[in-house]
């Protein structure tokens, strides 16, 4: 594609994503607010009807984060109703999301009843990640130092679980349960470091510097098989694990990690990491994960070509496509290499041709990760932000 044609198409993409983002934010402002018990409904039908009142903490956190980020960074969303909704959501989270443990530690619930009673607590740390993102971003728009402190305290807890002692997560210690470096953990921690340090002074940046480098190293350990594959789970020593778990590939996660690595490389001007992010964490998952026959990214694959053990392995879910859109556009934005823009267009065309069908078939995922949704919106927002800031 010639430069000018690309420019025209990119501008079309930008316009389309802008209008989608407006629709999505309108939808969630209109239908998701629980004006009785606070917080947000996240299981919404396409007509806005609430088909389940459970409140998933990931989603509460993401919605607070999203509203604040839109309010803070994009003029057309700098509206009092968005700020007020974010504050109400944050209040709900602070009041109900945390569950105290016998150890004296705090866990975040995974899921709450409509009026805030804990339904389920997972033995992982991802609810806490979204709690931190919400609190940090909310403190930036409200100036509330207590919230900032809460974000930092929860972050300390997370770091303790990941690097010192995971027993507070509640998983029994079992002799056959080999410690594993799962991509999601260093990836989310890196994302949190980027959140907490964004625009902050050297003291904060310095505080998280060692952790950030550790996260990057942990992510890089997932480059396996002499640089030819990204594997989702590796040993803590950075070697391949046996069996299905060791051979698992999750192209969406790899692309998401690539996007965080690109952000890291941009902040540091680290060209080596940039090159690795693109060639390993974007090109490899695209090569192995893109369905050559029907298009779209597979959810899971086995590096040796066995059928993955996850039933949903062959499904085309909307969020890996969002992650791929952001990753390739960010990579193009940084490098201006036309082949990366081509990748973006390919993913874009597939995604916006199929996303309605995905939504019809995966409403829970959509509701769970909020689609037409705040993660989508957040990611579309990011893509839009990128387009606005230099690509077009």
């Amino acid at each position: 594609m010639k430069g000018t044609m690309s420019d025209v198409k990119l501008e079309e993409c930008r316009e389309h994503i802008r209008s989608q983002l407006d629709n999505v934010v309108d939808f969630w402002l209109k239908y998701s607010h629980d004006t009785v018990d606070g917080g947000f409904f996240t299981c919404l039908g396409r007509d806005g009807s609430v088909y389940d009142k459970l409140k998933y903490v990931w989603l509460q956190g993401r919605q607070v984060w999203m509203y604040c980020r839109l309010y803070r960074t994009m003029d057309r969303f700098h509206k009092p109703e968005i700020l007020e909704a974010a504050k109400a959501g944050g209040e709900f989270l602070r009041k109900f999301a945390r569950v105290s443990r016998a150890s004296g530690e705090w866990k975040c619930a995974f899921c709450l009843t409509s009026d805030g009673k804990a339904v389920k607590v997972q033995r992982t740390l991802f609810s806490e990640c979204f709690y931190i993102m919400a609190m940090d971003e909310l403190s930036r728009v409200t100036g509330d130092k207590d919230m900032q402190l809460e974000a930092e305290q929860m972050m300390e807890q997370l770091i303790h679980w990941v690097r010192v002692d995971s027993s507070g997560l509640g998983r029994p210690q079992l002799p056959g349960d080999v410690p594993t470096n799962s991509m999601a953990v260093p990836m989310m921690l890196l994302c949190l470091v980027q959140q907490l340090t964004e625009g902050q002074g050297q003291d904060v940046v310095q505080k998280y510097k060692e952790l950030e480098q550790w996260c990057v190293q942990q992510i890089l350990h997932h480059v396996q098989r002499a640089g030819t594959a990204i594997l989702e789970n590796v040993s803590v020593e950075g070697t391949e694990l046996p069996g299905c778990s060791g051979r698992l590939q999750n192209p969406g996660h790899a692309l998401e990690a690539g996007w965080f690595l690109l952000q890291y490389s941009a902040e540091r001007g680290d060209e080596k990491i940039q090159e690795t992010a693109i060639s390993k964490f974007m090109e490899l998952p695209y090569q192995c994960g893109w369905d050559k026959k029907h298009g779209g990214l597979f959810y899971f694959l086995d590096v040796d070509g066995h059928c993955p053990t996850q039933l949903e392995w062959s499904m085309k879910l909307w969020w890996p496509h969002c992650e791929a859109l952001i990753a390739f556009l960010m990579a193009y934005s940084q490098t201006k290499k036309p082949e990366l823009l081509e990748r973006f267009f390919e993913v874009y065309d597939y995604t916006f041709t199929h996303v309605r069908r995905m939504y019809v078939e995966q409403p829970f995922l959509c509701c769970f990760s909020s689609q037409p949704c705040l993660l989508g919106c957040y990611e579309m927002g990011l893509a839009e932000g990128l387009s606005s800031s230099g690509v077009t």
Copy 2:
């Protein structure tokens, strides 16, 4: 279909299932035995290669049960190699499956390493169910009273968790986690009662009589909406629960429960339960769960027609089809109503036309529940047993 035509087709089914059962048993005898560490490999490719060495306790238990049941009840499988393999599998289970808890209770692991180290313990009771089934059936072929005692002790533990105090399962008590009657629990307990009391004297029958009736009542509570739907999760008072969980339908589970209820009704000569088993637990899930367009049983449905939250809801898995085959054949065998035989033939034709494709797309399920497999085999065996004993 005229009587004679049905008879011919039924005989063909019987022959086909007989040969499938032979193939399946040969396959597992040949490829699944771990002669180094004991126990059975359950993640086998179609060529018999082991693609993961993890040993799932459900499967270990089922395989021991299956071997013993075949050895004990079907002449052509009454072979020393089958008995020896069952005993070796039972030894592995007794040695490694149980994990002691701080409370002094025993849990069964969900998954073990190849050499028997616990990898994962679920906060449910199903591993224990398969442990009990294995120990009880094994004690019947070996005459080992200790094994019988172990089965009964684990059964006591299970009953305690279900009816007195579930805290030993390890789930934290959370205020929003409403106690739920999930179909799987009374259904599996009823199955265990049937296992433990089969062919036993009045003392054993009497011991479990109240529990058996309680299980039947708990299962009947899943008939909801004025008798028009079977719902997978209901309140402990027997009323519908709100949200996606309350609206969930699992046609395969309903059919499986129907099959256990039919066994119960046959033992008691209880025609009312027989009628309910067929009209509610077989006809309703068939009506709602059979895909009118492409054939096959859906995995999950929402009673109000929303899209279920489980990603895999629309998949056609092999085991609900096995359950349906057994249920309809058993219902026909008891009632001789031709429409039930028609249902059997419909499920049979679909299953044996599509099962290879299911296997290719769902190998883990297949391996996990052992297909070409011992659950399938167990269920095929049952179907064969039924055909042999009066239907044809």
